[in-house]
């Protein structure tokens, strides 16, 4: 390490939360959650492959209150990670990295995310009824 005064990372406790930093950490949190939730995806496929009681048991879990809460959280995380992931890919392509655009796309992710999640659940609950 060079013995020079360098700017340190901001101390998160005294640092004003910004939408850019908040969305960055949310991207990681949703990513880790989705990876863990991916296990349930394998379990779901397995229950269909095995069929019989395994499928009946899995169906009961999915439609239980806890299962529905899990599915709703999974949907929110998936839609957020998808939309913010597209935002990241646009940055990688060199578009929208200036602060005003990053803020605009950031707020758009939240608005579009809630609308899309609502739409998915509207269709799901209507189809299931």
């Amino acid at each position: 390490m060079a013995n020079r005064e360098r700017p340190l990372s901001p101390h998160l406790q005294v640092y004003k939360p910004q939408i850019t930093t908040t969305m960055s950490i949310l991207h990681r949190i949703t990513g880790v959650s989705l990876a863990l939730g991916g296990i349930s995806l394998v379990w779901w496929l397995m229950s269909i492959a095995i069929g019989g009681e395994a499928f009946a048991f899995a169906s009961k879990q999915w439609s239980s209150p806890l299962g529905l809460v899990f599915l709703f959280g999974f949907t929110l995380a998936l839609v957020y990670h998808l939309l913010n992931g597209i935002r990241h890919l646009l940055w990688d392509a060199g578009w929208g990295f200036d602060i005003p655009t990053a803020y605009k796309t950031g707020y758009s992710v939240f608005v579009v995310g809630f609308v899309v999640t609502g739409l998915i659940w509207f269709c799901g609950l209507r189809g299931g009824a």
């Binding site: 394998v42 496929l45 492959a49 799901g124």
Partner: protein
Amino acid sequence: MSGEFPGGGGQTSRAPAFRTPLKRARGLGSGKSGTHHFWVQRVTAIILVPLVVWFILVLLSLVGADLEAARSTIARPWNAILFAIFLVTLFWHARLGLQVVIEDYVHKRSLELALQLLVTFLCGLGAIASLYAIARIAFTA
């Protein structure tokens, strides 16, 4: 002067900074693989964008479906193929993402290594178990 270069000339003050920054970076961190990790993470992300949309639509079509309907939907050739691509890409992408999260936040080397191995094994297991389930559904429906 040479002493001020970090890690440049070894311990003695006589030794000039023969080792270039490139030489010191090689074999460490991204020096092993360059942008490969970054690139594969992006490629899998691009594959997953349309597949996630497709997957949500398939799941919505299966709401309230019985076992036979679910089996015949997944067993349709293109559905089975896309399911396989989706699950493998998902676990690959998950492994790359979790790897970086562990690298960033776990500072105890032994724990980091254990977690990296665990994540690698579990993601591999998830992908292979998914392929098994999809194949079993596709070939027995």
